[in-house]
């Protein structure tokens, strides 16, 4: 397996891999997102308690789930970079960071929009909300550290260390806020009794989760491609690529 994986440590091969994968991510992402969102927003049955406002679940839950998975993926990329000294792993890590941050932000925003009609407040210091907010801060930290360095190779390593510190911290944060919350206020206000979801509601949700995951993969690959090109600008293979593109455009 390692023999098969190792060539992709080379930026050129990684770039080619991105190109091959891109259409496989793009088309299913569009299909899943369009079908899932339309189905969820227009055709899925109303919730018997929450009426139509529950429909934001189709954006909220996928973005919240994937904001966390993206962080874990980022940390794994950082670890791979550290252990096997792959430059492309750091590039992948930093390609993921802003995407994950945006997902976290979407989750917080849609959560606030959902919380207003349901709980009567845009924001409560509930365990989930707080840990999601801290996740956003962790993303900001990684991005800020990366952009502070001139030398991007060094920047990748430094941001990788911080991403790993953050990933160790995430379970601790999760449990600490859960504790803190139950110690400070009764669970009646924020307890969200989720009825086990009906199948007609579940399918579009699953489709959207899948679609979001593919969409993140798509944006990450595109950003990774850009990152590779930017770093390898002076390498012969990039200049060949540019020349090819020019001649193609001319024809």
């Amino acid at each position: 397996m390692w023999k098969w994986l190792h060539p992709y440590a080379k930026p050129e091969r990684a770039y080619q891999l991105c190109n091959t994968l891109l259409p496989w991510f793009a088309l299913p992402a569009v299909v899943c997102l369009v079908v899932g969102t339309m189905w969820g927003l227009a055709y899925a049955p109303q919730d018997y308690q929450q009426g139509d406002s529950f429909r934001i679940i189709y954006i909220h839950v996928p973005s919240a789930m994937l904001s966390m998975s993206t962080y874990v993926a980022m940390a794994i990329a950082a670890l791979v970079g550290m252990v096997w000294q792959w430059r492309t792993a750091y590039m992948a890590m930093i390609a993921m960071a802003p995407v994950g941050a945006v997902m976290t932000f979407i989750a917080l925003l849609t959560g606030a929009a959902w919380g207003k009609p349901m709980w009567g407040a845009w924001w409560v210091w509930d365990a989930r909300l707080t840990s999601e907010l801290i996740l956003l801060f962790l993303y900001f930290g990684v991005i800020a550290l990366y952009s502070a360095f001139e030398d991007k190779q060094q920047a990748g390593k430094a941001a990788g260390v911080m991403a790993l510190v953050g990933v160790v911290n995430i379970p601790i944060i999760h449990y600490s806020v859960e504790w803190w919350n139950t110690l400070h206020q009764g669970s009646t206000i924020t307890k969200f009794d989720k009825p086990s979801i009906a199948t007609e509601m579940l399918w579009p949700l699953l489709l959207n989760i899948f679609g979001f995951a593919l969409f993140i993969a798509l944006v990450t690959t595109m950003r990774l491609k850009n990152e590779i090109i930017r770093r390898e600008m002076h390498r012969p293979w990039v200049q060949m690529l540019v020349k090819q593109k020019e001649t193609n455009d001319a024809v």
């Binding site: 030398d151 390593k157 430094a158 510190v165 953050g166 160790v168 911290n169 944060i173 803190w180 110690l183």
Partner: protein, 218 residues
């Protein structure tokens, strides 16, 4: 190894201003709260543990840079790396020294702060225990971020940005321990968790600090 420790301690005591300034900052931040939220003893008791912990975190962020900055600037950090001593041990020594000169004075000052904020004796005991266990954690985890930012021109604000989210669990457990003590409830669970976090950090942080210093030296 002992030499590194002695040298750091001697250096710290020759730059007294750098030792005293974060402490003055701490006392002033604590002073701001009664003025800001009103001097009612009940309110102060309610917010007291949180205020002391937040002030401790903020003041530690101010002095944190000192950990590696000077040694990095004059090249002695590079010499230490080349000396053949294991870097993680050097890092651990430096962190120990930093903790001694930064947080022991804070612990000595803590009765004064507790009195300012009208804490009861039970609360004060819990506060001291959390400070004893929690502040080494601040030094250990903080040193990782300092190691990463030491080569940067303006690392100060970035350091705070990196560390504050990481310190949140500690703040939560520490203040909840003191709050439990205020209600005469047992608070061993919170102390145990802070202790567990400290042990994990003691095991992993020196290696992480050593790695981050290597990254900074490039």
């Amino acid at each position: 190894m002992g030499g590194v420790f002695k040298r750091d301690l001697a250096l710290a005591f020759r730059q007294k201003a750098e030792l005293v300034q974060p402490l003055m900052f701490l006392v002033m931040v604590v002073t701001l709260f009664p003025l800001g939220v009103g001097p009612g003893p009940v309110t102060l008791q309610l917010i007291g543990p949180g205020v002391i912990w937040i002030a401790a975190i903020l003041s530690s962020l101010m002095g944190m840079e000192r950990l590696f900055r000077d040694d990095f600037a004059d090249g002695s950090l590079e010499q230490l790396q080349l000396s053949g001593l294991p870097l993680y041990a050097v890092a651990a020594m430096k962190v120990l020294c930093h903790w001694l000169v930064t947080f022991i004075p804070l612990l000595i000052l803590s009765p004064l702060l507790a009195m300012f904020l009208n804490l009861t004796v039970d609360m004060y005991i819990a506060l001291v225990i959390t400070l004893l266990l929690g502040t080494p954690l601040l030094s250990l985890v903080g040193a990782i971020a300092v190691g990463l930012t030491v080569g940067l021109q303006r690392g100060g604000v970035l350091l705070a940005l990196l560390l504050i989210p990481v310190f949140i669990p500690l703040l939560i457990f520490a203040t909840s321990a003191v709050d439990a003590a205020a209600l005469q409830l047992p608070y061993r669970a919170q102390i145990a968790i802070i202790g567990a976090m400290l042990l994990i950090a003691m095991a992993l942080a020196p290696a992480a600090i050593a790695y981050s210093l290597k990254v900074s030296q490039n």
